[in-house]
């Protein structure tokens, strides 16, 4: 914990303040632009972090992540198009409020709720990350394998189509094991020296996640882009203050968001929709939900921002990404030479706690940029797809090239983007594939160690932590199904 407090002294230096302002600004703008998100921002900025010290890089990337969380709410409110999945529930009451001519109020509510959710999420992150890591240090190959298994069990819950989700996740698992394994056996390299050390992570992630969104953006053209909206600072501020009329709801939704965020890949969208539905059920006027009321926006914006605190805890402590953005951040951590997993937290605890300190400050930076963003929404929304799309494609090619200084990486990225686009088009969820790629190598290596350490595989189930993780894995399969059922009910009743 002392690292956390001393971390404030470090991140309040001018260099880190500039990183935070730059990152939050970039994340906010990317989150605001339809089709783009924080994950893409992190992907684009990864090449810039190659030469940075780990702390600088993590503070910068975490700032993009923080900014991206609010940016998506602006489009959700103004044009009924969530900037990311996390803001799906924001459209339910945000857009009707905008239609009633109360755009500033809705934006103010979303902004302040995001900051409160973020602060609660980060507080929980600091409180639970340490104990989680302490317990995780007792992990051997069996426990580590179960952690990977736990991460993989959620793939079935990432989409409505469980079969396709599992299929994608398992193919990702195979992709994650490409290269020369711990026994020196070469697998699936097709003779390419560029695949010997495994599938290049960053080009693959950019290809699967970022480029398909650009192709869709090009296909849609400028249709659906934001029309001019004037925002008054006074009304915006009164919207911000209105959140404090619902303190209990804001706190409870934030806490629920953290719990949902801890479950890998359950995600901010489920957190937002779940809390929206719960708020509606416990509200004295449930019939008003969906017509543009403050409680609807407070519920989902506090929950989706708080869930990211939980997602960061699982990423930093267990090495399991809970969203596209945390997957990208985990990729950055791998590029720094860190091994994702419980030992990462003990080896680099001082750096990680300093990043946590910066996350607190980033919430206030986000408040500042959020106000500016709302005021400048009209101008930013005029960035046309015709200028945006070619620029982003060029930057992704440069980003992929910079990861290995060879042309194989951008070529692989383009190949992955075609597959990613086809998958998106035909409802194969991409996130399980990405999760599989990230966890495949760990699962494979730990399984091999299990076979070297134990006479039989079933012996691992005599260990209490393995049994606990197995139980959590089973819960992680069943609970999202329950949440999805609740979400469907919420959506139906909201319509």
């Amino acid at each position: 914990m002392e690292h956390f407090f001393s971390g404030f002294a470090i991140v309040l230096q001018l260099k880190y303040i500039l990183f935070m302002f730059g990152g939050v600004f970039m994340g906010t703008v990317l989150g605001f632009l339809p089709g783009l998100n924080a994950a893409m921002g992190i992907a684009l900025m990864l090449p810039l972090t190659y030469t940075m010290p780990p702390l600088d890089a993590l503070v910068f990337l975490a700032s993009i992540y923080t900014g991206g969380l609010f940016g998506g709410a602006v489009t959700a409110i103004l044009i009924n198009t969530p900037g990311s999945n996390a803001n799906i529930a924001t459209t339910l009451d945000g857009y009707p409020m905008h239609q009633k001519g109360e755009s500033e109020r809705a934006l103010g509510l979303a902004l302040c709720s995001s900051v409160i959710g973020g602060l609660v999420g980060m507080t929980c992150l600091i409180l639970i990350a340490g104990p989680m890591a302490e317990a995780a240090l007792k992990f051997g190959p069996a426990e580590m394998f179960m952690v990977a298994f736990f991460g993989l069990t959620v793939v079935g819950s990432l989409s409505d189509d469980v079969i396709k989700s599992l299929f994608s996740g398992l193919v990702g698992l195979l992709l994650g094991t490409v290269g020369i394994n711990d026994m020196g056996i070469e697998r699936g390299t097709m003779g390419s020296i560029y695949l010997m050390e495994g599938l290049p992570l960053i080009p693959a992630l950019i290809g699967f996640l970022a480029l398909p969104a650009i192709y869709d953006l090009v296909a849609k053209g400028d249709a659906g882009q934001m029309t001019a909206q004037r925002v008054s600072l006074k009304k915006l501020w009164s919207g911000c203050c209105e959140v404090f009329k619902h303190p209990v709801q804001a706190l409870l939704c934030s806490l629920a968001g953290v719990v949902i965020g801890i479950m890998p890949a359950a995600g901010a969208s489920i957190a937002g929709l779940f809390c929206y539905n719960q708020s509606k059920q416990f509200s004295k006027r449930p019939q008003d939900f969906g017509s543009g009321i403050a409680e609807g926006i407070v519920a989902c914006e506090t929950a989706n921002n708080a869930s990211e605190g939980g997602a960061l805890a699982t990423m930093f402590v267990l090495g399991i990404p809970g969203s596209n953005a945390t997957a990208m951040m985990l990729g950055a951590v791998v590029l720094m030479g860190w091994t994702p997993g419980p030992r990462m937290f003990s080896q680099y605890g001082d750096i990680i706690y300093t990043v946590f300190s910066s996350l607190f400050i980033q919430q206030f930076v986000m408040l500042f940029f959020g106000i500016l963003l709302c005021l400048l929404a009209t101008k930013l929304s005029r960035i046309s797809v015709k200028y945006l799309a070619p620029t982003i494609i060029m930057l992704t090619v440069v980003g992929a090239f910079s990861s290995g200084y060879n042309l194989f990486d951008p070529s692989l990225m383009i190949g992955c983007s075609v597959l990613g686009w086809l998958m998106k088009r035909h409802n194969y969820p991409v996130m399980p594939l990405v999760l599989g790629i990230l966890l495949g190598d760990i699962a494979d290596a730990e399984l091999m160690r299990i076979f070297q350490s134990f006479d039989h595989f079933y012996e691992i189930f005599t260990r209490p932590i393995v049994l606990t993780l197995l139980s959590i894995s089973i819960l992680s399969v069943t609970l999202p199904q329950y949440l999805r059922w609740k979400r469907k009910r919420a959506s139906k009743s909201a319509v």
């Binding site: 195979l174 296909a219 070619p390 494609i393 060029m394 090619v397 086809l422 399984l447």
Partner: protein, 148 residues
């Protein structure tokens, strides 16, 4: 039929690669396949289910042809992919600055930007990115026949 083929394309691509990977794993002996073999069997089973489901869904559909809107979307995505491939291939030959300027300019104009806007913006953007990556970040971007 084209609609069905496109629908099955992700399945065949991922499934086909998995078959190749499985066969490659077999060459490595037992140690190579502790995880990959059971995973492949699960992929094969799930792939068969998806294949059967897609065929059944296609048979149920009244309109089995690809709509004009779909064709347009696919054509635009195909242009993006082709342009990216050409751009990557041109980088070592033309150099970063020239290849990027041409790629951006063509992209802007294709998406409807005015020619002079496209030209000015593409030159400025290429120069800015070249400066940042080549000099600030020391990324060895390709130099063309003219040295830039």
């Amino acid at each position: 039929m084209l609609k069905l083929m496109l629908r099955l394309l992700p399945l065949f691509t991922m499934g086909g690669w998995s078959v190749y990977y499985y066969l490659d794993t077999l060459k490595g002996g037992e140690e190579a396949g502790y995880l990959t073999k059971p995973v492949f069997y699960a992929i094969a089973a799930l792939g068969a289910v998806i294949f059967a489901r897609e065929i059944a869904r296609w048979r149920r559909e009244n309109d089995r042809s690809l709509g004009a809107a779909d064709r347009k979307k696919m054509a635009k995505a195909a242009v993006c992919v082709t342009a990216s491939v050409v751009y990557v291939a041109a980088l070592p030959k033309a150099g970063f600055l020239l290849a990027t300027t041409l790629f951006l300019c063509a992209g802007f104009i294709w998406l409807g930007a005015k020619k002079h806007h496209a030209l000015i913006l593409s030159v400025l953007l290429s120069g800015a990115v070249y400066g940042i990556f080549k000099y600030a970040l020391a990324v060895p971007l390709f130099s063309g026949p003219w040295g830039f």
